[in-house]
């Protein structure tokens, strides 16, 4: 019997929709590697309106529509119950793929417990096993390592945001309304009182930031820091500095990265205009991924970096910030 993959949509925000598309893309590739199967999208919510039509073009074989007042506010308890209703309808749901948005990341624990199946989160790679289970590679320890786990069916997996591409090309799907049984599950006791606007996030503290952007002498002067700050904001990054610029009084000592400053170990470290004195390297070389931008191709920073651009930071920063903004419009913390 060919496998079925169920994706649950997070239609609440543009970011959630993008994560949903990534989940559809991931599920499609997974099925394709195993000679195809059925790709089902579960669209849960209330007064979904035009979204019904939009979602029909996202590339699933079938969209199961659960438009119900009890689903108006996302609550893991009711959504897990509704998802279980769908899973029971499907002939052989091998795997439930959840988007890497807050909805998917919250639901994965509850739904896998409810289905009494395997579950894991933050998937970077997925592969079906012959037994019908699924193999997932995922990062852990702040990205310092990765593990591969094997989940028996019915497996529930939420994805790491940005790790998968949307389906290509999207194709139309059949929309099937599903009614939820009455009475509903649990207490469903939550009431939405207020929705606040998306906050403009400030830069996180240096040592906790998942991304750190640091500047050095190659920025030529403190007046150029706004360029670096723009990039940091786009990445949701903490701001660091080399000892040289702290000593020169361009930046406060609290920003210094290195042996006499803070040690950082983010997922991504971007060293801009920093040559890479040893005292700096010991404070950041355990970062998972290091990017260096420097005019001098023989600068030591390129020896520890994963990716490098040889060039003038002042020229490269604006387009880089622009490119980052395009792929990361308000990332989930």
């Amino acid at each position: 019997m060919s496998p079925t993959a169920l994706v649950l949509a997070d239609p609440r925000s543009p970011l959630g929709i993008r994560a949903t598309l990534e989940a559809l893309g991931a599920a499609e590739v997974l099925l394709a590697h195993h000679g195809g199967g059925k790709l089902v999208l579960g669209l849960l919510g209330h007064s979904l309106g035009a979204l019904r039509e939009t979602a029909a073009g996202w590339g699933a074989d079938e969209v199961l529509l659960l438009d119900d007042a009890r689903l108006a506010v996302f609550q893991a308890e009711t959504y897990a119950w509704a998802a279980e209703t769908i899973v029971k309808r499907l002939s052989s749901p091998t795997v439930v793929v959840l988007p890497g948005s807050t909805l998917g990341r919250e639901l994965v624990g509850r739904l896998s417990a409810r289905l009494r199946g395997g579950g894991t989160s933050e998937a970077l790679e997925l592969d079906l096993e012959d037994t019908g289970g699924i193999r997932v590679r995922r990062p852990l320890f702040g990205g310092k390592a990765s593990e591969t786990v094997s989940l028996p069916a019915p497996a529930v997996v939420s994805l790491r945001a940005n790790a998968f591409a949307p389906p290509e090309p999207p194709r139309p799907s059949r929309v099937v309304p599903v009614l939820l049984p009455d009475p509903g599950a649990g207490s469903a006791g939550a009431h939405l009182l207020e929705r606040l606007p998306v906050p403009v996030s400030d830069t996180p503290p240096l040592t906790q930031a998942p991304v750190v952007v640091s500047g050095g002498r190659g920025l030529h002067g403190p007046e150029n820091w706004p360029l670096l700050e723009d990039l940091a904001r786009a990445l949701g990054a903490g701001l660091g500095a080399s000892r040289a610029v702290v000593d020169a009084g361009w930046r406060p000592a609290s920003e210094q990265v290195g042996q006499t400053g803070s040690s950082v170990s983010p997922q991504l470290y971007v060293a801009v205009g920093i040559s890479g004195a040893i005292q700096h390297l010991v404070g950041m070389s355990s970062s998972r991924c290091i990017v260096a931008i420097n005019t001098d191709p023989s600068a030591p920073i390129f020896k520890v970096a994963d990716y490098g651009i040889v060039g003038d930071a002042l020229v490269l920063l604006p387009p880089l910030t622009e490119a980052v903004r395009r792929v990361r419009a308000g990332v989930v913390p």
Binding site: A76, G109, A113
Partner: protein
């Protein structure tokens, strides 16, 4: 109203990890464990502030882990929690998030648990799943990505703020409830030396896991570790070749997103 905070000891953040001989997981030998600090400390702090505000009477701490997990529980007691329970696992016991939630629920069920608090995720496996799975096993609502808890509105309810990509939501939720904190109270208190000494006299029960298992069917472990990888040593930067700055930026972002998967 009483709160239960679930905490987990994890290897210190700057630990040097090694792959275990099995290749499937990491080698715990020689690692130093701490209270799952930033996340769990914030959860304990949040509970203590609710207690200090008069909203709850007691803060209980529960942990599942080997005997050394006692240190984390003691730390929470020294911060101010009232009592602790350690579900003590044996050597070689390993539980995935679902099984962990199942066992914790088995222990929590036996006492008052109007508010169950967990940190955002564990600093080691980082699944962030235990909170909502706990809600399922306890049969009560659960909310994650919560950024603030306050006691407002009708009794038997709490007001939560939670993060969503569409903006923060303010919810009124009924008790009992499981809350996973995206971020808890800022600046969790550091236990003072006198409080560390006092905490020695607070009740801390070691409950062998077998006692929990006697009440509960053995939870199935559903995710089996297959392999554990550390990043390969660095061999020098891959330099992006480009004609103009925009091209360099585009290429770099693509590499970071598709190859390094850090964006």
């Amino acid at each position: 109203m009483e709160a239960v905070v679930c905490i987990k000891p994890v290897p210190e953040a700057d630990s040097r990890l090694r792959v275990a001989p099995s290749g499937a997981t990491y080698d715990p030998e020689g690692l130093r464990y701490t209270l799952n600090s930033t996340y769990d400390e914030a959860a304990v702090e949040e509970a203590l502030r609710l207690r200090e505000a008069g909203a709850i009477e007691k803060v209980h701490v529960v942990s599942l882990g080997p005997a050394r997990a006692e240190e984390g529980v003691r730390y929470a007691l020294a911060m101010g929690a009232d009592d602790g329970l350690l579900l003590e696992t044996g050597p070689g016991d390993a539980f995935d998030p679902g099984a962990t939630a199942n066992l914790l629920a088995g222990a929590i069920q036996t006492g008052p648990h109007d508010l169950v608090l967990v940190g955002r995720r564990a600093g080691d496996d980082e699944t962030g799943m235990v909170g909502s799975a706990l809600g399922e096993h306890l049969g009560i609502p659960s909310f994650a990505f919560v950024t603030g808890i306050s006691v407002e509105g009708p009794s038997g309810s709490l007001r939560l703020r939670r993060f969503t990509e569409a903006g923060e939501e303010v919810l009124s939720v009924s008790l009992p409830v499981v809350v996973s904190l995206l971020k808890g109270a800022q600046d969790p208190r550091t236990p003072t030396l006198p409080n560390i000494l006092k905490a020695r006299r607070k009740p801390l029960v070691h409950q062998p896991l077998s006692e929990v298992l006697a009440r509960l069917p053995a939870p199935p472990v559903r995710s089996l570790p297959v392999r554990f990888d550390l990043p390969a040593p660095r061999t020098g930067a891959r330099l992006v070749e480009y004609q103009n700055p925009s091209e360099a930026a585009e290429k770099l972002v693509r590499l970071l997103r598709e190859e390094a998967k850090v964006l």
